[in-house]
Point group: C2
Chain length 451, copies 2
């Protein structure tokens, strides 16, 4: 079922491709799934991948191209003229994929492609899709779908569906529109199968239909489709005309990418990396956060430096530096993570910033109280003496409260200014909390220890 990606297979394939020996791969080339072929191509040397690609039929080739990562796709497209892209690729793609492909081209190539699409309706459909800004329902939708008119009879409907189905790969839903193309509802396959052919569509279609507008944000689209378990959802223009449909596979990709991005930010990676990427590109993804960490560390050093005489007098003060720094960081990230998830699922919609901060303060006070009591006990038990135990305990409490408030406030502010709130879970907040925490610690130390 799954395709062979073993080292042996790939090595043999490279040898055969280099010698232009394709006989052993007839089945793979003509029956293989585009996703499998793309996966194989990505594992090969680029030149040999190109040899493989050139053996594919136009239709399969176009789909394989869309499954490749963007970098490889653009390397392949360099050798294409606008005319070739239009006739060999665009013609074999669904409108949403076609629009995505064209969006990746440069200005000149783009115009050349659009001018060379023969089917005028297709060219118009694609041109229209290119208008929608990235991240909106319009940019995710395709125009291939089955539409029937409400005044038709079931028989007419089947006949029309048959005609439309010729051009559509999979039929997910049948949309019912009026003469002006306003979306009225859906007709289930079940109803179509179980109704007499003379029944008018208007009597059997369902008016319950979830839809989004072209300008709806992708995140909202994902939430609606997930909530209602939809496989496909119609998209309408601002006055209710049916203009496209979004299929769940595009939404899944979106959901996965978003989750990955948040996860990467939380774990200190600035770009998407995969374990089999090169050492250089993994380094590139990791270095920026580490540089911020380094800078933060130097700042922390200068904060501590202001208290060097205190440390000289009571070296034990230094023992708890990691504890204070780590706890500030942890609490801040926790707070931010809850906000980031809440913003993504729009569960925070009814909450004001003040509400959130008050609640977070509550959580921080509870956590802070528990941990402060524990640390006093532990410090005394370990023989650090009451003054130091008290210093650590009081500053821990203060750090937890401050870190929680910052961790809550920053992602909310970022979100307000349309910046990805997940940035807050990265090293900025942690570093900020580290430094603030140390400052609080030493100041409280001065007060309590009377240095």
């Amino acid at each position: 079922m799954s395709v062979d990606l073993s080292k042996d297979f790939l090595e043999q394939l490279e040898i055969d491709l280099a010698q232009r020996q394709f006989t052993a791969y007839e089945e793979l080339l003509h029956e293989g799934h585009p996703a499998d072929l793309a996966e194989i191509m990505e594992r090969l040397d680029f030149d040999l991948a190109l040899v493989l690609y050139e053996q594919l039929d136009d239709e399969v080739g176009a789909e394989v191209l869309m499954e490749l990562d963007e970098e490889m796709r653009s390397k392949i497209l360099v050798d294409y003229s606008g005319q070739e892209i239009a006739t060999e690729l665009i013609d074999n793609l669904d409108s949403d994929d076609a629009a995505d492909l064209i969006n990746e081209l440069d200005e000149t190539q783009r115009r050349e492609v659009l001018e060379n699409i023969e089917d005028q309706k297709q060219a118009m459909d694609i041109a229209r899709l290119l208008i929608y800004p990235e991240g909106t329902a319009g940019s995710l939708m395709g125009t291939e779908m089955i539409k029937v008119k409400d005044h038709w009879k079931v028989l007419e409907c089947v006949r029309e569906m048959r005609k439309q189905a010729e051009e559509i790969e999979t039929v997910h839903a049948i949309y019912v529109v009026n003469e002006a193309n306003k979306l009225l509802g859906t007709l289930s396959l079940k109803k179509l199968l179980t109704t007499s052919t003379r029944t008018p569509i208007s009597e059997v279609y369902s008016q319950k239909v979830e839809f989004v507008e072209v300008s709806t944000e992708a995140e909202e689209v994902a939430n609606v489709m997930q909530k209602y378990d939809l496989v496909v959802m119609p998209v309408v223009d601002p006055i209710g005309h049916l203009v496209g449909r979004i299929t769940i596979d595009d939404v899944i990709d979106f959901i996965r990418d978003e989750a990955k991005e948040d996860y990467n930010l939380a774990s200190g990676l600035t770009e998407e990396v995969e374990a089999h990427d090169s050492i250089l590109s993994i380094t590139r993804a990791r270095l920026p956060w580490l540089l911020i960490g380094l800078f933060g560390g130097l700042l922390a050093a200068s904060v501590i430096g202001r208290y060097d005489t205190d440390i000289g007098a009571i070296p034990q003060l230094a023992f708890f530096i990691p504890l204070i720094a780590a706890m500030g960081g942890n609490v801040g990230v926790q707070s931010s993570a809850i906000i980031v998830q809440g913003l993504a699922s729009q569960a925070l919609a009814e909450n004001t910033t003040i509400n959130r901060l008050v609640k977070e303060l509550g959580v921080a006070l509870v956590n802070g109280a528990i941990l402060s009591v524990l640390i006093v006990g532990a410090s005394l038990f370990l023989g650090y003496g009451m003054p130091l135990a008290l210093t650590v305990s009081v500053s821990l409490f203060a750090v937890i409260v401050v870190a929680a408030l910052i961790g809550t406030f920053v992602p909310l502010v970022l979100d307000k200014y349309k910046i990805d709130p997940a940035l807050a879970t990265g090293p900025f907040i942690t570093t900020l909390n580290d430094i603030l925490g140390l400052f609080l610690y030493f100041q409280i130390g001065r007060l309590i220890l009377g240095i």
Copy 2:
């Protein structure tokens, strides 16, 4: 389109429910989407939610129940007898939901329910689904699907589909099996619509079909469905008999839950929390990681304690404690995160542990070299003097290498022992790296500074 969840609406609803005034909510109660009704119920006082729930028709009620979170569902089910669950709920659910519901009951209730399901075939289907362990394809699948035999003609097929469709809500795919119920392929709706009614199915069905076995892990199911953009996928037993189908909505829930779990672990939350949960349950999710952090901080304090005379002699040594600790933690989490993602997408399948460690070592050496050079420069510039600059630089290099190796090794080992590798991104690794890093730092300090 979306349902009204405003404070005003909910407050009015609570008042009306308390007075058993339902007239204003006829449409919501009878036409509302189960997902919306569930969302509303979750926002109400439990007693009033129950009043609302009791107004629902059995069929809608059963679906609403499955949309609620598990805690609320079990509170509602307490008042049900096994017989009621069987006739009012199970009868109105798809087999996969029915099995999930039964799985949540205790032993006695479970038996009572199974004995009271009237439809013998349904009872058998569900009993069979209960066997599959959680996290396998078998546990995700439902048994409702349209099957046709390969020796039928298209006409027969449509007639049979019509019969089967009566019992199925949405038709996603038509599966072709032989007389012995072995999965042979799929019949596309398009083919069905565009072929003469006298054509035998065997001539028009497609043998290309992606499927999984009942024992396939959910993660693999999710990967296959995503890779091939499938909306529904058939499930076969070990000898190829068609036993069920998995729909994409169940897989999306799985994907989302997994992503959330990883994200929570990486940000120090032990259980799923939402921003609108109570202060107590948010605290419960956050305290465990903070306690580990606290414990780690105390350990770090005792490590530093071993070097108190060194700090007494050179207080500046303490300045760089946060830098060393933070960098160790950051590098470790980055390394682990890459492994965790690689394991999830199975991109690491061909890689041995040794390969991974060697590559990670490469990345660490590059990062370490760059950052060490930078820190020497920065430290000298800031006037810390060569011996200290050298100490910080050498130990930073050592910490980065050690943290990277630990961050790579631990998730791989966890995975080998079937423990969630994402645990490695939590505070364990960070704490371990903090402590090891500090130990390295002070030891190297002794060597270089000659204390």
